[in-house]
């Protein structure tokens, strides 16, 4: 059978190779597009905001006069929010992960929890805002306090840290557990002394990712009804507060160029915080890089 003419096949080779090269270039360009946009975005924000970025900006309260305005309450508020979200998510997230990985039997209920977690991860943040508004702000009468917002945000980022912790716990080798059991350790002792220490880097990385998400979110806080103008610092978790994204949102809404620049400066501060947090995550990952 000679149905394939090899000379035509070879003649057709050239256009096929050209198409290949063309698409390779196209794919490369598509990849570069994302990087380019990222570059433009950062460049725009930095050139717009850098002029306002000074110590005074960090130390001042917000003001109706752009040149006096600062982000202190927002910055402090963000730190307060982190202070509430971190322990809650770590406790709930790691606890859930330990339960699912170490204790839960493989049954329907367990897989239900698992499916539930992945669905929860896909629920829009604004819906969490509605939950927070109804349950924490109204029903529990916490108002627009640090606590109400912190609880809402904790639930929002819970799936992130659960999944990361599960992965981390899963990756602890079986032999380490066996060694511990072999010495007469109980399950809980094994978990606390062997599994968790070995899983810590993964858990912390997940925690930082979750926290980054929490401090960048705006929508749920808008729904909770955080006040627009706030010129004081919270003293306890029951106080009202504002956070960086809210302050940025507030300034974005003002038409004057000076406030747009303030918004950009606020964004720089927010991005710097995120970069620092993510660098810490990378450092942790590298420092604890799997030794077993």
């Amino acid at each position: 059978m000679k149905m394939i003419n090899h000379t035509t096949v070879i003649k057709r080779m050239k256009p096929r190779l050209i198409i290949n090269t063309f698409f390779k270039a196209l794919f490369l360009m598509a990849t570069m597009f994302g990087l380019l946009v990222l570059g433009i975005l950062l460049y725009r924000i930095f050139t717009q905001g850098i002029g306002h970025l000074n110590l005074q900006f960090l130390q001042n309260l917000p003001s109706r006069k752009a040149e006096l305005a600062g982000i202190k309450p927002a910055l402090i508020g963000t730190i307060w929010l982190m202070g509430v979200v971190t322990p809650i998510t770590l406790l709930l997230g790691v606890g859930t992960a330990i339960y699912l990985e170490e204790y839960a039997k493989k049954n329907r209920f367990t897989s239900f929890i698992q499916i539930n977690i992945s669905n929860l991860a896909g629920v829009p943040s604004i819906v969490f805002g509605l939950l927070g508004l109804t349950v924490f702000v109204r029903a529990l009468a916490l108002g627009t306090s640090v606590l109400a917002a912190g609880l809402t945000m904790s639930l929002l980022v819970l799936p992130v840290i659960i999944v990361a912790s599960q992965e981390a716990i899963k990756s602890v080798p079986k032999q380490l557990r066996e060694a511990s059991y072999g010495m007469g350790a109980t399950k809980w002792q094994t978990i606390v002394r062997v599994v968790l220490p070995a899983a810590i880097p993964g858990i912390l990385t997940g925690g930082i990712l979750a926290l980054s998400r929490a401090i960048g979110e705006t929508a749920p806080l808008v729904v909770l009804g955080l006040p627009l103008f706030l010129a004081f610092l919270p003293k306890s978790v029951f106080d009202m507060f504002t956070v960086l994204p809210m302050q940025i949102y507030n300034w974005t809404g003002r038409p004057q160029a000076a406030f747009q620049e303030l918004a950009a400066a606020g964004i720089i501060v927010l991005l710097l915080m995120l970069i620092i947090m993510n660098s810490i995550a990378v450092l942790i990952r590298n420092k604890f890089h799997k030794r077993y």
Binding site: F27, Y103, L120, G129, T134, T186, G216, Y249, L274, N278
Partner: protein
């Protein structure tokens, strides 16, 4: 020395018994959260439907909740706003995301991939308010240079920016799916004289299709729920049409608008945000379940 100590374990056995229940309780929090969301939404939505007929909600073509006396509550204009933005986002993100995924998994060297992928993922980590700002102050003015009739608030600009935001989701998850296609498949195709492009498009891509589809569905679900970008750059005019140059309102942006001021507690408007939130929740839930279904049901057989 140890034998003596070996006896005292009553407290530790208490812990052993107690801990699993405690952890179970903690694990149930995530279920309670879902339950809380569903109950909250259902409850208040129910009140809403006590005042506004569900038929009107689903079929009326007008969303004008501001008049307590003769308001009009048809969700379709808000849905159309959401769909417009989502569609534009998908049109931007799917081709670029897929092309990036193919480039990273099939063409790029290991070093390039390890360098580019994390940078690309930074795009997904930028707070959405930043994108909103970017859409309003950069993308919209730029688009207006090209399309003079573009309104200051429109569907196009936030759509494009959301698209950019979800590129890394598609690129990263699809790349994972492509990379997990065994090399033997590529070798088989290359040994037949295929070019790299033919291998990628005709063999690897189809083999990874379920992972890719799942990544797209997830990204689209994310676009549907995106809030700040549309709230800042999309406007607040619910419209039932396919015009992308004029001001729109999405379901999420509506909730933000009302939350910012118009929601008098226990007015119909107040309850309407729950009805809209519930609709939004259903949309994304269906998408998420769908994504899980395709990635499980159509798991590759190699």
């Amino acid at each position: 020395m140890i034998q003596a100590k070996k006896q005292k374990r009553s407290t530790s056995s208490m812990i052993e018994k107690f801990v699993p229940y405690l952890l179970l309780f903690v694990a149930v929090v995530s279920v309670l959260t879902t339950l809380g969301i569903v109950l909250t939404l259902v409850f208040e939505t129910f009140t809403f439907f006590g005042r506004v007929s569900i038929v009107e909600f689903l079929t009326s073509q007008k969303w004008y909740p501001f008049s307590e006396a003769q308001g009009s509550y048809g969700i379709l204009p808000l849905v159309s706003g959401t769909l417009k933005v989502t569609l534009i986002a998908a049109i931007v993100a799917v081709p670029i995301g897929l092309a990036s995924a193919i480039f990273l998994s099939e063409y790029a060297s290991d070093k390039t991939r390890r360098f580019i992928k994390p940078i690309l993922e930074v795009l997904a980590g930028i707070p959405t308010i930043v994108y909103g700002f970017f859409a309003l102050t950069f993308v919209t003015p730029m688009l207006r240079e090209i399309i003079p009739s573009l309104e200051i608030f429109n569907a196009l600009s936030p759509g494009i920016v959301i698209g950019i935001m979800i590129i890394p989701m598609i690129a990263s998850l699809s790349e994972d799916a492509l990379v997990s296609v065994p090399n033997s498949m590529r070798e088989g195709a290359l040994a037949l004289g295929s070019t790299k492009l033919e291998v990628s498009l005709k063999v690897v891509l189809p083999a990874a299709i379920s992972g890719i589809m799942a990544s797209i569905v997830l990204a689209v679900s994310r676009a549907i729920g995106e809030t700040m970008i549309v709230a800042v750059a999309g406007g607040s005019t619910p419209n039932l049409n396919w015009d992308v140059t004029s001001s729109i309102q999405t379901m999420t942006a509506y909730i933000v608008q009302i939350s910012q001021g118009d929601a008098g507690y226990q007015t119909t408007i107040y309850y309407s945000i729950y009805a809209v939130g519930f609709t939004l929740f259903l949309f994304t839930l269906v998408m998420n379940l769908f994504a899980q279904y395709i990635s499980r049901r159509f798991r590759e057989e190699y």
